[in-house]
């Protein structure tokens, strides 16, 4: 990548993106909107002494035409010098589609200005960028990796570690004026510590937009502890058990259930939030209790513990007016369903607020709730299973959000208030819409590192991540449906 950036920047600034966007849009009167994204990432993976890196810079230009075809022009590049920009502009000029005959322009041709001039409300201010993370992208791994490798080696274990940094700037620009910009950094450390025989494994992770708040040594220490506690696991009878789910496990359930909040699916009866009996005169459960009354679920772009760009982007439910602002939304408050996710046009028609489904979600407790630490949950558990995290999640049924997955990297039998012994991993088959109604105890929330736990796979493996902030929970009657041989 060759362009002028300040030392603490790794991606283009707002003025730079705006200048680029305007040039692209001006290249032809037939272009309607442009999205310019610059992502830089530095990911280092260490396993059994083998180090590999995947560092990259990518700028993507995405230009949409006005004539109802909806088919965009997409150009990726790693170069941003004048020569490359010249080529991009040339292509933008030449590839603009011709104006079709008037009788072939679709009725939903986006000339409706109300959405695309929506700049009257300023985007909610967010603070997703941290210079500490941008500055660490090139340098931190030289210190962190050797330290983690030594720490895990001293414990007599084999380590697999990933240290990742990313920075992104993103601009949406419409001819009618809608302009949305965000910039963000993110960092993540995950450690899997395994015994040399491969018979025990512990995992831990930490993620934060501000690298200065991440303590890699703590991550490794926790993974090591879990691995050491996991030696010689025994089989434990599957069934409905009290489960103490660590934040990483709860996060997997929360992330997978996000699509249940999409208003279209709810109205079609394809969600646990649907009410086909129209109890309240509507097809949704708005106003009814769907979770434990202590729980609140929200998505806030300005969330101090995570946050996200405050507008619709790729992979959201909105395909037409990307870049449209999305404010903070409370989905569930005190267990009561308050809101669903509406696309821009649908929300406007109903005079509601448009928002994406809670892929970035923050689950917390209502004020005054007595929270407990994981240690306190264990102390209060007569018999149950502690789960560090889940993996290989798979949604089985949309209507109930029944999902299955397996425990991983730390699974223990709790008896009489103590960790009794490590147990072999278990498969679960349950729904968060059942589990979050059987909460016995709940803790304080934290942002969770996802690592690469499959099935969330492509989407949550993108950099930067979408933060998920959840508490640990003790849940009654969680359905462990089978033993799992995996370690």
């Amino acid at each position: 990548m060759h362009h002028s950036l300040p030392p603490t920047r790794r991606v283009l600034t707002q003025p730079q993106l705006l200048a680029l966007g305007k040039r692209l849009l001006a290249a032809s009167d037939r272009w309607f909107s442009v999205r310019v994204e610059h992502v830089a990432y530095a990911v280092t993976k260490v396993a059994n002494g083998r180090v590999s890196t995947q560092d990259g810079d990518r700028v993507q230009f995405f230009i949409v035409s006005a004539y109802g075809s909806g088919f965009p022009l997409s150009i990726d590049s790693n170069q941003l010098n004048d020569v490359t920009l010249g080529r991009v502009l040339e292509m933008v000029e030449r590839a603009a589609p011709p104006r079709p005959p008037a009788n072939e322009i679709e009725p939903d041709d986006p000339d409706d200005d109300q959405y695309y001039t929506y700049n009257a409300q300023a985007l909610p201010p967010v603070a997703l960028w941290h210079d500490s993370t941008a500055a660490a992208m090139d340098t931190a791994r030289g210190e962190v990796i050797p330290a983690l490798t030594e720490q895990i080696g001293k414990a007599g274990l084999m380590g697999a570690t990933t240290v990742g940094f990313s920075a992104r700037s993103l601009l949406y620009l419409y001819k009618q004026g809608l302009t949305s910009f965000s910039e963000e950094t993110d960092s993540e450390v995950t450690v899997t510590a395994r015994s040399k025989t491969g018979s025990a494994s512990g995992w831990s992770g930490a993620a934060d937009r501000d690298w200065s708040r991440v303590v890699p040594a703590d991550v490794a220490a926790r993974a090591i502890t879990l691995s050491e506690l996991s030696r010689n696991p025994v089989a434990f009878e599957p069934g409905r058990r009290v489960a103490i789910l660590g934040p990483a496990a709860v996060a997997q359930l929360v992330f997978e259930m996000a699509s249940a909040f999409e208003a279209g699916c709810v109205r079609l009866g394809a969600s646990p939030l649907s009410d086909p009996r129209r109890t309240n005169g509507q097809r949704t459960k708005i106003g009814r209790r769907v979770f434990d009354p202590r729980l609140t679920l929200l998505s806030d772009p300005a969330d101090q513990m995570g946050g996200f760009p405050p507008f619709f982007d790729d992979f959201s439910i909105e395909w037409k007016v990307k870049g449209y602002p999305t404010p903070a939304i409370t989905w569930i408050e005190g267990g009561i369903l308050k809101n669903l996710a509406y696309k821009v046009e649908g929300a406007a028609g109903l005079r509601l607020t448009a928002a994406d489904v809670p892929r970035s979600a923050h689950m917390t407790t209502v004020p005054g709730t007595k929270t407990a630490t994981i240690e306190e949950m264990i102390a209060n558990c007569q018999e149950g299973v502690y789960v560090n995290r889940f993996s290989d999640m798979q949604l089985l049924d949309d209507k109930t959000m029944m999902m299955t997955g397996v425990t991983r990297d730390g699974c223990f039998l709790i008896k009489n208030g103590k960790i009794h012994k490590p147990i072999k991993n278990l498969r679960f088959t349950d729904s968060p819409f059942f589990a979050f109604n059987k909460v016995l105890m709940v803790g304080k929330e934290e942002r969770v590192a996802f690592g690469a736990p499959r099935s969330t796979g492509e989407y949550q493996s993108r950099w930067p991540r979408l933060p998920v902030i959840v508490p640990p929970m003790m849940i009654q009657d969680f359905n462990f449906s089978a033993l799992c041989d995996a370690i």
């Binding site: 990432y41 990911v43 993976k45 396993a47 059994n48 002494g49 083998r50 180090v51 590999s52 890196t53 995947q54 560092d55 990259g56 150009i75 590049s77 790693n78 170069q79 490359t84 080529r87 040339e90 292509m91 590839a95 011709p98 009788n103 072939e104 679709e106 030289g142 490798t149 084999m158 697999a160 570690t161 990933t162 995950t190 899997t192 395994r194 491969g198 494994s201 290989d392 798979q394 089985l396 109930t400 299955t404 997955g405 397996v406 991993n425 498969r427 088959t429 729904s431 059942f434 690592g451 690469a452 736990p453 499959r454 099935s455 492509e458 493996s461 449906s481 799992c484 041989d485 995996a486």
Partner: protein
């Protein structure tokens, strides 16, 4: 409002896009453009000229030289010019128009070894300066990482080969006009709609044309050209009265190296119609809830290939076995190596061969480390006899190769599906040997007294644990079989399995007529790189299948 009907589209005269002043863009970056649907100019007209292979070779040599100059003791470079075409008219009742796009990717990856550690850098829009800068960057990274890496990376020796190779096709899909591509889509829909209530669910043709050059500091310089086809057609029968829907994949559409000739002609249309008729029959079975229990089972070829691809094929990835993916994709139940290799882990019915021959999707004369490809067994009569290795990981099997008289080398299974990703040992085409002739799917079903027939499994409906030792899946269709006859279609059933048990308890495999190819798409590494792994497998009769029920109301 557009007034296209499908038939109207097919008979409308084409626009000569060139006549509107459109000329080929001079792009050099990865880019996608929409293909004008109504044009008689060949698809290639909408893209820049193919990059001259000599240009690619020069760039690759420049990268290697720059890496050596910067201090690498080993370097290899992959440079590729890739064009992709996708035409799509899935669910035509909801999508009045077909869709198509072209994608161009012109990029490279430089891999270097310095002080025993790897470094890697990639870029799009290769230029001599750009590739030299990337080589320097990779060397700088490796130099830094060498201070923290463990044992030095060593590569099993391989001859430095030179040469050129191409897949052979009759009709280059990029020489065909968009008009003709769209007519093909329309003809496929017509074929399905000849059956009452029939239509298509998925209808997509993907084509890729690639020129890739590999160069290494050992002196290798290899140029390969590929044309790949990755079609996907699923017919659908929707019974309005019963509100049911059945979707069946059309057989015989394996991803492979093939040209446009592989999809034209009446044979494909006949297969589409026959599959739709089959779906029409299947939808009339009565429906019932799947009951929890343990049953005999038959998997059709599609289900067998999908589940095998999601379990055993991934487990044979040697980097998983060695623990390099422990913090990413996961580990493997086919380890430790000494406990597994040569042992009767699976049913003696199971023999699996890896093969990158000229017609397969992963066809190549040389892999992405410059090693000559070869067909080799990975499982022989139930015993694991090899893994998917690279030059770096193959030495771990040296003792086994010596014991069994196999040459100590990687088998040409190092793959980088994009030039901008690092190569790693993984499957790129596998075949499960079929059973006796005359034992088709129907014959296997007829052998069951109380069992389940699973027809088709989507990869996205299989969940496997991180060690691939077990999981759960839902089949597209499951049928109850009593005394060899299908009695009803089962709903809401989920199958739980333990991988070793499934593949150890094979009673019989179907014959060649029951074979089906399923392309397993996987992601691995950090950041995730996409891999495509076709598996061709026959139908299989299993001793047991464990059904659980997921239907539950709040």
């Amino acid at each position: 409002m557009r007034s296209f009907s499908r038939r109207g589209f097919l008979t409308t005269s084409s626009l000569a896009v060139a006549g509107l002043g459109f000329s080929r863009p001079r792009i050099a970056q990865a880019s996608s453009i929409v293909l004008p649907m109504r044009s008689k100019a060949p698809v290639a007209a909408f893209l820049p000229d193919l990059v001259d292979p000599e240009t690619l070779r020069q760039l690759a040599r420049t990268g290697v030289e720059a890496a050596q100059h910067a201090g690498a003791d080993y370097a290899d470079v992959r440079v590729a010019d890739v064009r992709k075409l996708r035409t799509d008219w899935s669910m035509p009742q909801m999508m009045p128009l077909p869709y198509s796009d072209l994608h161009l990717e012109y990029g490279f990856g430089v891999r270097v070894r310095v002080g025993g550690a790897w470094g890697f850098a990639f870029d799009v829009d290769p230029t001599p300066d750009g590739i030299a800068r990337a080589a320097q960057s990779a060397v700088n990274t490796a130099r830094g990482l060498a201070k923290m890496a463990g044992p030095a990376v060593t590569l099993i020796p391989a001859p430095a080969l030179k040469g050129e190779w191409s897949t052979t096709v009759d009709v280059d899909p990029f020489s065909v006009a968009p008009d003709t591509h769209m007519k093909l889509l329309g003809a496929c829909i017509d074929a399905a709609e000849r059956v009452r209530d029939g239509t298509v669910g998925e209808l997509v043709f993907r084509w890729a044309k690639e020129t890739r050059v590999f160069a290494s500091s050992d002196g290798a310089l290899l140029t390969q050209r590929f044309i790949r086809s990755f079609p996907g057609i699923e017919v659908a029968v929707h019974n309005e009265l019963r509100r049911g829907l059945i979707q069946l994949p059309v057989p015989g559409l394996a991803p492979r190296c093939a040209g446009f000739e592989s999809v034209v002609g009446p044979e494909l249309q006949d297969r589409i119609k026959a599959t739709t008729e089959e779906a029409q029959q299947l939808i009339h079975y009565p429906e019932g809830e799947a009951e929890v229990g343990r049953y005999e089972a038959v998997l059709d070829g599609d289900a067998m290939a999908a589940i095998f691809g999601a379990t055993v094929v991934q487990a044979l990835d040697f980097e998983r076995v060695l623990g390099y993916e422990a913090n990413a994709a996961g580990t493997s139940f086919l380890g430790p190596v000494d406990d597994i290799i040569g042992q009767p882990v699976f049913s003696p019915h199971l023999t699996v061969t890896a093969n990158r021959d000229a017609s397969s999707y992963g066809a190549a004369r040389w892999d992405d480390e410059g090693v000559a490809t070869e067909a080799f067994p990975v499982i022989e009569q139930g015993r694991v006899v090899d893994y998917f290795t690279s030059r770096e990981t193959a030495p771990v099997l040296a003792a086994w190769y010596a014991k069994t008289g196999r040459p100590p080398r990687s088998r040409g299974s190092a793959v980088a599906w994009s030039a901008t990703t690092t190569p790693s040992g993984c499957a790129s085409n596998l075949t499960v040997s079929p059973g006796k002739s005359g034992t088709g799917l129907n014959e296997l079903v007829a052998q069951m007294s109380n069992g389940i027939l699973a027809r088709g499994v989507s990869q996205y409906e299989i969940g496997v644990d991180p060690q691939l030792s077990g999981g759960a899946y839902t089949a597209r269709m499951m049928f109850e079989v009593r005394k060899g006859q299908i009695t009803r279609r089962l709903l809401d059933g989920v199958v739980q399995f333990r991988t070793k048990s499934v593949w150890k308890d094979i009673i019989a495999l179907g014959d060649t007529h029951s074979m089906h190819c399923h392309a397993h798409v996987d992601w691995r590494g950090e950041t995730m790189a996409k891999v495509v792994q076709p598996v061709t497998a026959p139908a299989a009769r299993l001793a047991q299948l464990d059904m659980i029920q997921i239907g539950r109301s709040a």
